[in-house]
């Protein structure tokens, strides 16, 4: 990541998100506290009560109501924000689908946290994956700078007339949410240039009454779903354009997919969130010793960058797809299923296996990454996958 524009400051992931939301001049915030997201909404409440942000802060009584309220506010034409994690996302689940189906422009920060049981406040990607089918654009931040930038970008993307879908910015609970990093923050005026006030499409208007959220039976439901699906797919090139625009604007490059070392890598790790940096750190050291290893990570998880992935894996002999979650009874965990499905018809594709790591905040250490690269090398050497799914960082 290049430096780009902005003033250097030290902020935690949560505070960086809150700062971006303030700069976005959001109109309505509704949220319910849940660790590790709480700091975001506490800070936003402070901005509002100190008069630094002219927004309505709706201190709802549950996450279900948080998302319900911002859905309503978005339909009314407001720029809206909420944040949650884990159980909160699970409680919102029903409304996730409605938020997308009604084509709202909700932006939500998800400070990724493991789902119960057992209750744990630390990082897993269970919550992000739980939202994957619901029609939300999903970004994964790798560091605090990205959490900030992607929050600003998310408003622009969601409200774009060629998109009109809600967005989630994933930031690893504690590892990013509560950790302070140096980042560059843009000037308020610059943010306004990139992100002008929302121009609502079909807002609630008593002079032009519309019916939102009707009963939709078998004679129309499937057409509406098809439309939503096609529009979601079609949003992809537009998201790409907006990522490019933001990159130029901020001087920091954003692409749906990040690759490292793939020009000559024989084996690679694919991973989401803050651990991508750890993987790259290890890969860099290994490459310095002449090992042909690489790392793939996603900044954009939904819509899934299929073509970019196809391009990236060319020449790879083995790919370890790492999931910070588990999908019971399925052929692989969630990212693994995405990746294998994306590559299924590719002429050239690596052997793939799934690595489960980091559940409930178990630290992913550089040694674990070394271990996974070793497994990948073994698979590449043997030309077959003996174990389709393995766990690292767990006591046997």
């Amino acid at each position: 990541m290049t430096e780009g524009r902005g003033k250097p400051v030290g902020l935690s992931g949560d505070l960086a998100v809150a700062y971006a939301v303030k700069q976005a001049d959001v109109d309505v915030i509704a949220a319910y506290p849940i660790t590790p997201q709480t700091i975001i909404v506490e800070k936003l409440a402070e901005y509002v009560n100190d008069g630094e942000l002219n927004a309505a802060f709706v201190p709802v009584e549950s996450e279900h109501s948080a998302l319900s309220a911002v859905v309503g506010a978005s339909l009314a034409g407001a720029r809206v924000f909420t944040a949650t994690a884990s159980q909160g996302l699970a409680l919102m689940y029903e409304i996730l689908w409605i938020a997308s189906g009604l084509r709202t422009t909700v932006v939500m920060a998800l400070a990724n946290r493991a789902l119960s049981p057992n209750i744990n406040i630390h990082c897993s990607h269970d919550d992000a994956y739980a939202a994957r089918d619901a029609g939300w654009i999903q970004f994964f931040a790798e560091n605090v700078q990205e959490a900030y930038d992607l929050t600003l970008l998310a408003f622009r993307v969601s409200e774009d007339k060629k998109v009109l879908f809600p967005s989630i910015i994933n930031l690893d609970g504690f590892i990013l949410s509560h950790s302070l990093e140096r980042l560059l923050v843009l000037d308020d005026k610059e943010v306004k240039e990139f992100l002008p006030p929302k121009e609502p499409v079909n807002p609630i208007d008593p002079d032009n009454p519309k019916t939102y959220g009707p009963l939709d039976l078998y004679d129309y439901y499937i057409e509406h779903k098809r439309q939503q699906a096609e529009h979601f797919k079609a949003s992809y090139p537009r998201i790409l354009e907006l990522m490019r625009e933001f990159s130029e604007f901020a001087g920091r490059e954003y692409k749906p997919i990040k690759t490292y070392g793939l020009e000559d890598a024989e084996v690679a790790i694919m991973i989401l969130g803050s651990s991508a940096g750890t993987a790259r750190y290890v890969a860099r050291k290994l490459r310095a010793k002449g090992e042909k290893v690489g790392v793939i990570s996603l900044t954009l998880y939904r819509p899934f960058p299929v073509n970019e992935l196809l391009e990236a894996v060319k020449g790879l002999k083995a790919l370890a797809v790492m999931d910070r979650s588990y999908s019971f009874g399925s052929p692989g965990a969630q990212l693994f299923m995405d990746v294998t499905a994306a590559l299924i018809n590719a002429k050239e594709k690596p052997l793939m296996f799934n690595v489960i790591y980091g559940l409930g905040g178990r630290d992913l250490m550089p040694d674990h990454i070394v271990q996974v690269f070793e497994m990948a090398k073994q698979v590449a050497k043997e030309g077959e996958v003996k174990e389709a799914q393995v766990w690292v960082g767990v006591r046997e």
Partner: protein
Amino acid sequence: MSTKKLGWRELPIGAIITTPGNSVEYKTGAWRALKPVYHKEKCVKCLLCWIHCPEPAIIRHEDDTIEIDYDYCKGCGICANVCPVKAIEMVMER
């Protein structure tokens, strides 16, 4: 929205309905078994039938006489029941 069922490309986004009150295109009069008949000469213009009608299928005129809109009347009989002077009578549909 006409009777032609639109494809996904033509439908408004978000499944919204942009034509307020277009349920009038759906005639519920066919549900009716009993039919209210209005006897204007008996009517005392109390408007109880008008205010209690669940559709609304009772049209209130400027002079507070009424007219029954058989396109929508489901024949519940509330109007006949609330009429204090029996100006509405329920009869067999056919």
